[in-house]
């Protein structure tokens, strides 16, 4: 198999794996507060975080607003987010790559 083909295959399979994680595993995630949130709760400063500075998030708390709190909402948000950062990450890599070298 030539190298280009095998690279393409690797990328497609790896991206599919990420999408599977975002779509099928995210509904299984624990809904307990994370380490920082729990610390804030236990130590009594959680209320400080109840301010709204940026109210323009498209998918606040990993949900699609019009789909509500159902788990399908989180699954789709995960799928869209994964695709978005995949594209942007590729772009970041492209922007940061070194100029063609002789070697």
């Amino acid at each position: 198999m030539d190298k280009k083909k095998s690279n393409r295959r690797f990328i497609v399979i790896a991206l599919l794996a990420c999408l599977v994680i975002a779509f099928f595993l995210s509904p299984l995630a624990s809904s307990s507060p994370d380490g920082l949130e729990k610390a804030a709760e236990n130590l009594g400063f959680l209320h400080l975080g109840e301010v709204l500075v940026w109210g323009h998030s498209l998918m606040p708390d990993y949900s699609i607003p019009f789909l509500g709190e159902r788990s399908v909402s989180g699954m789709i948000a995960g799928l869209l987010g994964t695709l978005a950062v995949f594209g942007l990450g590729w772009g970041v890599g492209f922007a940061l790559k070194r100029k063609k070298q002789t070697k």
Binding site: F10, D34, A39, V53, D61, G87, V92, L96, K97, R98
Partner: protein, 226 residues
């Protein structure tokens, strides 16, 4: 450990934004010298994996959960400079699109998870593998240990920021935060080591820290497999 708006003082928020921006500029210079073409798609894959895996919170007991961090994973696969940028990209998107992590705390979150958990931890990793024999086994052992340490260090620095902000005294928050993250870090270490172990076998040519960078273990010439 994404800090929301409201936890940090204005001066801490500003100072951490300053540090994040300076490191951002320095890493561009570094990446432009070293980052080769063949890693470009892997940058997208790394971002996608970190984002997706971070959604899957796992319970650590006592009604608390934690999630994968991925900073060491990004640095090991892409090198610390691009790894830092990928981590920062994920944090920025989580903040802007998903309201996970505050926009005023983004500098601090990048400092904790991208710089402390990423670049600084990668340096520690590079020092350790220099001492160890250059085998896959010791590379993976160092991966496990430093991925765990990265999460604990990031949580420690996060606690310091909360202390300096006057949100909560150091000696109260540090033990609680590091205590939780000693456990959460194990989850990160397991996932990172599993991915690196797979990559070293399947695509060693796509592990920057293994085959390409100076200061990291270049035990054997690794050629791209067909």
């Amino acid at each position: 450990m994404h800090i929301p708006d409201g936890f940090l003082s204005l001066s801490v928020a500003a100072a951490t934004y300053g540090v994040a921006a300076s490191v951002g500029a320095a890493t561009i210079v570094q990446a432009k010298r070293r980052f080769s073409d063949r890693f470009v798609p892997l940058a997208g894959i790394s971002a996608a994996f970190i984002f997706a895996a971070q959604m899957v919170n796992f319970p650590i007991g006592g009604g608390t959960s934690g999630h994968f961090l991925g900073a060491m994973l990004a640095c090991l696969l892409l090198g610390p400079s691009v790894g830092f940028w990928i981590m920062s990209l994920v944090l920025a998107m989580q903040c802007l699109l998903f309201a996970d992590g505050g926009i005023t705390a983004l500098g601090a979150n990048i400092l904790n998870m991208g710089i402390v958990g990423g670049i600084v931890s990668y340096w520690i990793f590079a020092l350790i593998v220099k001492i160890l024999p250059t085998t896959k086994g010791s590379f993976l052992a160092a991966t496990f240990g430093v991925s765990w340490l990265a999460v604990v260090l990031a949580a420690f620095v996060c606690s310091v920021e909360l202390g300096v902000s006057g949100t909560i005294p150091f000696k109260i928050v540090i033990p609680v935060m590091t205590g939780f993250h000693v456990l959460i870090g194990l989850g990160d270490a397991l996932v990172t080591t599993a991915v690196l172990s797979y990559m070293l076998n399947a695509r060693p040519d796509l592990v920057y820290s293994w085959s390409g960078s100076k200061g990291a273990p270049i035990g054997e010439e690794v050629t791209a497999n067909g």
